[in-house]
């Protein structure tokens, strides 16, 4: 797309350098841990060594004897105010601090308040707690067996560990496709428990002013407005009202879905500040973050695909057990306990599909958050892209050819999927074709055959994913009843400078730049003249926040709509100034002019001044607008990724030789930022594919609760990403844009697994669960008689 504005204005399509970067690069960002208030107390948390145990005694006397320890807070203290339990976003319940028993290792058990961070840690060491261990349930499949110990004894009458059953699609029609199928394939696919591991851990500074009764919380949150409402609803009975709660989400060092939930630490800090009247800071360390904060994925999937011998897919059937830990603390839209998992028919045109998911309680940390993922779309894409590949290999068809045969065709859009989604636009074959050209697919297949003849192992894997982002239309999408609109408020100052505020919150995505570019595009103000603010609930308009790639699809649309409202008013002012009829004016970015007389023009800056100094009779002074955007549909970005791997037969190491990623996110606001999003997303796709998994032993002990064993890939492990794009605009988004932040994380893992399985299919390997570690590959090689 050729930009309509000059580089100085910097509207859509310009790779404007990020306005936020100078302060980040110079160490001038302002994160929660940078907030220091007079008389501030530090909070540290005592955590459970057991995964399931009764608390028989808590002795705080030794901790309280340490100079500088101000208080020790336990569940019993919170119970006096009925704050020891809180609701989760999925209407389950979660302990803030336990009174009777702990449910996972590293669960919060007590909190120490002290005058310094060091003393707080010494206080934590000195709290003595007696536990009586209880039977531990780690495996969600075992959790659902009739003889499993019931974990949620707090729920009256609860007789099992089953949370909910959810199903979607036409079961009878789907079963029929399987009965009539010429070919069926089935695989058990586990998508392991992982953690977002953002650079900044979670934390807050809570400050309750006893004089004014106002609570201010600086907090690592992706959704400050929703958090304010949740606080008001949960703590209304102790006197916190929404007009006296201010949530400030300052600079955030990565969220990835992990900063959507309300963690017990936040609530304890707020309670501690209300009780003491002093500011209280709580900042997790890395191990607490890894061991206790919400996990992602953890889906045990059984997938079946039905089709014909010619490669036509006809039906998809999926059964899944979702391990939620001890409470369902996912952050899905209320209506969808398994998120948008029913996007699992992917890029393919198939007649019938049926999905079932059962949630299970286990003695693990709560969660089920959407890690750089629009509510389980990662799980959906991984499933369909894996099982499609299995079928292609099973019938001896090239996986690329198999995909071309089954893709939804461009002329079928808008396309109604078997599971009820209406895909807005797509051209899947074009993206795959481009990826194949870029990687020289046919040459690679030849090379692979030659190498295989020599006993060498090379694999080529494809993932042609379709995402579903931009939640979402109010008809279907809410969180705790709050509809998933988002908002923009734009104010133009008399001198032609702009401030714009949003209901979203950047955690590194570059909103200060991209939103400014949308305004530049719509109104012609240079990006340099536009300030963007988010994250302060006292000043920003209400919105549901930033996650699930919704900022551009929803708040970006609100931004365009608000800008257009301003343009409409600017037209009235320009008509008045030019003594012309509104209908006789023409707009080009930055000015109105009289049709046929380009010299008779008023720039947007001149109009801005007039809005305050010479506004037309009958028109309000000022130049500002607000828009609350309720999207008519979600957006469906897509892409095709191809990965080439070489396998070391001696050690089982997998080397990614090449990885080509072709993405299509519709019209692009800032190509550089999109490119950056894709690079980061690909690396976050590589991570679970090859390195990351939270593991537990049978006693529920976390085996890799630090970065020593929870393996985040670095630049050394990351291959050179080769990116390219196609552009299929969204027909319903005001800018034709789609979300992109998560596409690569969602699409990449399947390409990597498909490549590894492709390298070993001839040996008899059909599937390998992620993460693909050298030890797993070594085992498969040796089992199939391959060695060095």
């Amino acid at each position: 797309m050729t930009p309509r504005t000059s580089p100085e204005v910097g509207g859509m399509g310009h790779s404007v350098k990020r306005k936020e970067d100078p302060r980040f690069l110079r160490g001038q960002g302002n994160y929660v841990d940078d907030v220091v208030l007079p008389d501030m107390l530090y909070l540290d948390i005592v955590r459970s060594p057991y995964a399931h145990a009764k608390i028989t005694n808590i002795d705080t006397s030794k901790a309280l004897a340490i100079p500088g320890v101000a208080a020790v807070i336990t569940g019993k203290d919170l119970a006096q105010y009925n704050l020891h339990w809180m609701p989760t976003l999925m209407s389950d319940t979660q302990m803030v601090l336990p009174v009777e028993k702990v449910m996972y290792q590293a669960q919060e058990v007590a909190a120490v308040l002290a005058t310094s961070r060091y003393v707080a840690a010494d206080g934590v060491d000195a709290v003595e707690i007696d536990y009586d261990p209880l039977p531990v349930v780690v495996d969600p499949k075992k959790a659902l067996l009739p003889d499993a110990p019931v974990l949620r004894t707090d729920k009256e009458g609860k007789k099992d560990n089953h949370i909910w059953h959810w199903e979607w699609g036409d079961k009878a029609a789907t079963d029929k496709t399987f009965q009539e199928a010429e070919v069926t394939v089935q695989e058990d696919i586990y998508i392991p428990r992982i953690h977002v591991s953002s650079i900044e851990t979670c934390g807050c500074v809570a400050h309750f002013n006893k004089v004014t009764g106002k609570l201010t919380v600086w907090m690592t949150t992706q959704a400050p407005h929703a958090i304010r409402t949740v606080f008001a609803l949960v703590a209304g009975h102790v006197g916190l009202a929404e007009h006296k709660i201010q949530i400030i989400s300052p600079d955030i060092g990565g969220g990835f879905g992990g900063k959507v939930p309300v963690y017990p630490g936040y609530v304890i800090a707020v309670a501690a500040s209300v009780l003491t009247g002093k500011p209280v800071k709580w900042i997790e360390d890395r191990m607490e973050n890894l061991q206790a904060d919400s996990f992602a994925r953890d889906y045990h999937i059984s997938a079946e695909l039905a089709g014909k011998k010619d490669g036509t897919i006809t039906g998809l059937r999926i059964k899944t057990i979702a391990d939620h830990g001890y409470t369902d603390a996912a952050a899905n839209p209320s209506k969808f306990p398994a998120g948008l998992f029913h996007i699992c028919t992917g890029s393919y045109d198939l007649k019938a599909a049926h999905v079932e998911v059962d949630g299970a309680y286990t003695n693990k940390p709560p969660g089920g958050i959407a890690y750089r993922c629009s509510f389980r779309v990662t799980e959906a894409v991984h499933t369909i892209e894996r099982i499609a590949d299995v079928m292609a290999h099973e019938i001896g068809m090239d996986p690329a050819e198999f995909r071309f045969k089954n893709f939804i065709k461009p002329e079928q859009f808008p396309y109604k999927s078997a599971l009820g989604w209406e895909y807005d636009s797509g051209n899947y074959a074009a993206a795959l074709k481009l990826a194949m050209e870029r990687i020289e697919y046919d040459e690679l297949r030849k090379e692979q055959a030659e190498k295989r003849a020599r006993g060498e192992l090379t694999g080529i894997g494809i993932s042609s994913f379709t995402e579903i982002v931009g939640a979402g239309p109010s008809k279907h999408f809410d969180i705790l009843g709050l509809k998933m609109f988002d908002s923009a408020e734009i104010r133009v100052h008399p001198t032609g400078k702009v401030i714009a505020r949003f209901g979203t919150k950047s955690q590194g995505q570059g909103h200060e730049t991209t939103y400014a570019q949308i305004i530049a595009e719509e109104l012609g103000f240079p990006v340099a003249d536009i300030a963007v603010e988010e994250g302060d609930t006292d000043t920003a308009p209400y919105g549901l926040g930033t996650y699930a790639s919704r900022s551009t699809p929803v708040a970006g649309a609100a931004c365009a709509m608000a800008a257009r409202k301003i343009r409409d008013k600017a037209r009235k002012i320009a008509a008045y100034l030019l003594e012309a009829h509104e209908d006789d004016l023409e707009w080009e970015p930055g000015k109105f002019f009289v049709k046929g007389s380009p010299d008779r023009a008023k720039t947007i800056q001149e109009i801005s001044l007039a809005a305050y100094t010479n506004h037309p009779p009958g028109v309000e002074a000022g130049l500002e607008a607000v828009d609350y955007y309720d999207p008519p549909n979600l957006t469906y970005p897509f892409g095709s990724y191809i990965c080439v791997v070489d396998i070391d037969k001696g050690t089982g190491e997998v080397k990614i030789r090449r990885f080509v990623a072709v993405d299509d996110c519709g019209n692009i606001i800032n190509p550089m930022i999109v490119e950056g999003q894709i690079h980061g997303g690909l690396t976050m796709g590589l991570a679970p594919a090859m390195y990351e998994e939270i593991q537990y032993d049978e006693s529920g002990n976390n085996l890799n609760g630090s970065f020593m064993n929870y393996l985040l890939p670095t630049a050394v492990e990351t291959p050179k990403w080769e990116t390219d794009k196609t552009c299929t605009p969204s027909p319903h988004h005001p800018l034709g844009a789609k979300g992109v932040g998560e596409s690569a994380t969602v699409g990449a893992p399947a390409a990597i697994v498909n490549a590894v399985v492709d390298a070993m299919w001839h040996l008899g390997v059909r599937h390998i669960d992620i993460p693909i570690t050298p030890a797993k590959v070594w085992k498969l090689l040796r089992e199939n008689g391959v060695s060095e």
């Binding site: 001696g650 085996l703 890799n704 890939p713 670095t714 050394v716």
Partner: protein, 292 residues
């Protein structure tokens, strides 16, 4: 990640440091690079009441060749070793080793001697020093003594150092001509401890057979660093053709004692020792012939 409080001393001479150790006994812990000690303190896995920081003692950061030995002083950083011309030209096996320890930030601080003194079988230098036949020089109130590195690691996280001794120097015999060595390590990601690591040092005689100086050391496949003495004995006097390399690597694998852990099952690690030993011997032979 907040350590307990501790006392801190920074002596200016080795004598002062030894005197402090003598006075404090097991309460004292020496801080050199601190790249293992400080994380352990932050995790409260170690809470030494008294830290004796030897970083201000002058004259301990030398890498020199003297009296037939390469000598590495107590405050030589891993990055010093990586950059040393002397080491790069004569001991490529040491460059192999240091360059796979942790990451550059850690290597700028971590000391070579500390890598031995910590007594961790997952550390990389012990295997290499075993292959090289290195000698550890300890200094204490009773003066200096030499400890052959094969006697330096009696048990897990234990060394032959007394509580009042400081590891002052590592001495490595200068190898004769026609020597080559290599260290190979498999790690899960950069900066990780080895899933398994193998160090091989060989010298060939005029007829191309392996001399008695052969050394093979194994990393992180037992409770201590392992000197693969049977494999060493096997290669002595042999022409290292394909069959001999294969057999030597199988013998070395048999000398490892790995356990199942998060890095993988024991049989996987044992097989890695086999694969890496064979590859390290081949690399060492290439280096005998002048390869890099």
């Amino acid at each position: 990640m907040i350590p307990r409080s501790f006392e801190y001393s920074a002596p200016g001479t080795l004598d002062e440091a030894v005197a402090l150790l003598q006075k404090l006994g097991s309460d004292a812990k020496i801080l050199s690079g601190g790249q293992s000690l400080i994380p352990m303190m932050k995790l409260r896995l170690a809470s030494p009441p008294h830290i004796v920081d030897i970083n201000r003692i002058p004259g301990l950061d030398y890498i020199t060749e003297k009296d037939g030995f390469l000598r590495i002083g107590a405050l030589v950083r891993e990055s010093d070793l990586e950059r040393s011309e002397l080491v790069r030209s004569r001991f490529p096996i040491l460059v192999d080793t240091t360059s796979v320890i942790a990451d550059p930030l850690v290597r700028n601080q971590a000391t070579v001697c500390g890598n031995l003194a910590h007594g961790d079988p997952a550390n990389d230098h012990p295997a290499t020093m075993l292959a090289l036949g290195a000698i550890v020089v300890a200094v204490g109130p009773r003066g200096e003594r030499d400890v052959p590195v094969e006697n330096f690691f009696p048990a897990l996280f234990t060394t032959a150092l007394e509580a009042d001794e400081i590891l002052r120097e590592i001495k490595i015999p200068i190898p004769p001509p026609s020597t080559g060595g290599a260290y190979l390590k498999l790690e899960r990601k950069v900066g990780d401890y080895a899933t398994a690591g193998v160090a091989v040092q060989i010298t060939l005689n005029n007829s191309g057979a392996c001399t008695a100086a052969a050394g093979i050391g194994l990393t992180n496949v037992g409770f201590t660093p392992i000197k693969a003495v049977k494999a060493e004995a096997f290669v002595k006097g042999k022409q290292l053709d394909q069959a001999a390399v294969k057999q030597a690597s199988e013998i070395a694998a048999g000398e490892s004692h790995p356990v199942d852990d998060i890095r993988g099952p024991a049989d996987y690690k044992r097989d890695l020792v086999r694969v890496l030993t064979a590859r390290a011997i081949v690399r060492a032979l290439e280096r005998v012939k002048g390869g890099v």
